[in-house]
Symmetry: C2
């Protein structure tokens, strides 16, 4: 019997969402012995497992039935208070609780903002390159993407103003702290510049900040939000500082926007996981988040140092790379004859994987770029794998 | 200093999402002494708090770092296997694991299906009345709603075929088991009829089934999915059988649809809460879900009996009401001179609340209808509150 595969009438947007090449690569990681620079995973050895276990037990004992029940779409009130207080402590920002919406990771915040702001055909301005998850999420709303060049200290000012003027985007999406994929960080001056220019155009800024806490230096740059609060939507997450499996992120914005985003969230998933929010709040009340962050920073800084020294030692001189001051990634540019996908094919033969940079462009991808993750590879594995990559680069006739 | 409120350019869909009147009513429930028939909350006294606490401890001990890490978009594999096995055990259905996607409650499944299937202006056929959350969720995709009359044993066959023929909907959304808001249940014949008619038209069926397990009789009706698997998307949830705060639901469909929905889910929130999925799987492996369901059924059946006998005793004869054979709700029709919103205003004065039925219509709401929840009110509170409602109905001159 032949079973005919049915043909479903999918929506137009289904054709427009870029597939995640990373997802495909990550399937390879289940091979034993593979060394992966491909993922964007925090180092699980730093998860506060015992502490969260204690907190979970306390939460079940103190308010078991409450945390298992339906709850408010906005999120657990004390957790929102904690987030507001932390912004005040770190940056002197005055954010009220009704300006904070808890989301299922900051990925969901992108989905909700697409729902709140984007009609089909609306323009969205993105850094070049940018976070793949933002491309996927915002493409669901059939946005038209425009790009602005990203320099070492942030976006190009003239090009930014030119795009704001000529393209009239509805949203500008950026990751000013230790960007995924490049590891780049906006200077104070560039932050003020983005705020100043944006104040004169209709676009809203989405300032995505999952990595801000993971800073290897003492310099704390003010978020763009601080310069232009009414037109900036600031996203945060506990995924990189506590644990991603809890899926707890947040959105800070003007309360008119939070109100609309809350309606969208109610329609999307009613509310975020209640148990996780309570466990997280218990953790944040019992332990010191800054101590947890300190441990992560120390470890990732060490791993970054190992990675950069290996690149320095093993890679040919014509390979360019960034020196990230925080976060989880660095970004490389290969010589013009070398394509990252060809390099990956050879790397996989040596049981090493990474993500070719072409996945991170809204258009005209640069085939010579690639992203390396340093947060989730041990120093010995890293040395061995980067030596292999260096050898491939050195001796292959591209 | 006058601060001018900024005017944001929201997307068109923002205007189209119906506000949840229920949400507004639920804010009143924080008043002490209020008796609420308004919510759709399971009874928290039946949550297996101690069991879930034990399972959480075990999960942290056995695979703490793993459950706190990012995980697959599709959901925890053993949990998907459990769901497949349960459908086989209950209904003899053969569903493979790659036909199952874990969602953040079944509310998220609606969002994902909107993303997979709906372009602006597409038609969606709904029962009249229907679940408010479906109206909210699907309106985000700027669907045009069409309705079909719901009788005691399911939708009207002639009208159903007429709408399929004339409106050519992309989706038909239904809740065949103990519907929210009416408590109505499709007969076996109506299920076959819906499948048979649907097989001849392009529309996909979304069969939402959060209440199927909460059946007060031994009769188990086959899901519509069993009659037309390639064109039916079956949604399920642990919210009513274990606990809603965990936000774990699922979608069963042809694997081509699951693949598209998985891409949409990745863009929407990467994956559902990993910790909850593991705790839930530990619970389902250690304890017997059917015993948990048995407890819930026994208690809700008792509460339904109390509610119906009070309505019988205290309400005027010209009030019509359903006798639900499962689920959490019953549905009333007041005499033609009486509007449920006026009735609610008087009920609130007596510290009793419920949801007027007009929230549950895609168009031309029936102002005389209302929904009463019986799962989350104790028998004594219920008797007292229904007596008050009866008195209002009996003695008010509308």
């Amino acid at each position: 019997m032949t079973v005919e595969t049915p043909h479903y009438q999918f929506a137009e947007r289904v054709q427009q969402v870029p597939q995640s090449f990373i997802r495909e690569i990550l399937k390879v990681t289940s091979k034993p012995n593979i060394v992966s620079f491909a993922g964007g995973l925090p180092n699980p050895s730093l998860f506060p497992v015992q502490e969260l276990e204690n907190c979970a037990a306390k939460v079940f004992q103190k308010r078991g039935a409450q945390v298992l029940q339906y709850s408010e779409t906005e999120g657990y009130y004390p957790l929102r208070e904690y987030i507001a207080a932390r912004y005040h402590q770190k940056f002197g920002l005055n954010i009220s609780v009704d300006q904070i919406l808890i989301t299922s990771g900051s990925q969901q915040a992108l989905d909700l903002l697409g729902k709140v702001f984007l009609d089909a055909g609306d323009k969205v301005l993105l850094e070049r390159p940018t976070y793949l998850g933002a491309l996927q999420s915002l493409s669901l709303f059939q946005a038209q993407f425009e790009e602005v060049t990203l320099h070492n200290d942030g976006v190009d000012p003239d090009e930014f103003e030119e795009k704001m003027f000529n393209c009239n985007p509805k949203l500008f999406y950026c990751i000013p702290n230790f960007q995924n994929p490049t590891g780049l960080h906006y200077s104070e001056e560039k932050r003020r510049m983005v705020a100043e220019i944006s104040s004169r155009y209709p676009a809203m800024i989405i300032e995505d900040d999952p990595y801000g806490d993971i800073s290897f230096s003492d310099k704390k740059a003010l978020p763009i939000y601080a310069h232009l609060p009414e037109k900036t939507i600031l996203l945060g997450s506990f995924s990189k500082t506590v644990a991603p499996g809890l899926r707890v992120g947040w959105m800070v914005a003007h309360r008119d926007i939070i109100r609309k985003a809350t309606i969208m969230k109610q329609a999307s998933d009613l509310h975020s996981n209640n148990l996780s929010q309570h466990i997280l709040f218990e953790f944040l009340s019992t332990y010191d988040l800054d101590q947890q962050v300190f441990k992560i920073v120390k470890q990732y800084k060490y791993q970054r140092d190992v990675m950069l020294s290996c690149i320095e030692e093993y890679f040919p001189e014509n390979v360019q790379y960034n020196r990230p001051e925080g976060g989880m990634f660095t970004w490389l540019s290969l010589p013009s004859t070398t394509h990252a996908r060809d390099f990956l094919a050879k790397a996989i033969e040596q049981n090493v994987i990474f993500v070719p940079g072409d996945s991170f462009y809204a258009s005209s991808p640069d085939p010579q770029t690639l992203r390396l993750n340093f947060s989730n590879v041990s120093d010995t594995a890293m040395r061995e794998a980067l030596r292999k990559l260096g050898t491939i680069l050195e001796y292959t006739n591209w």
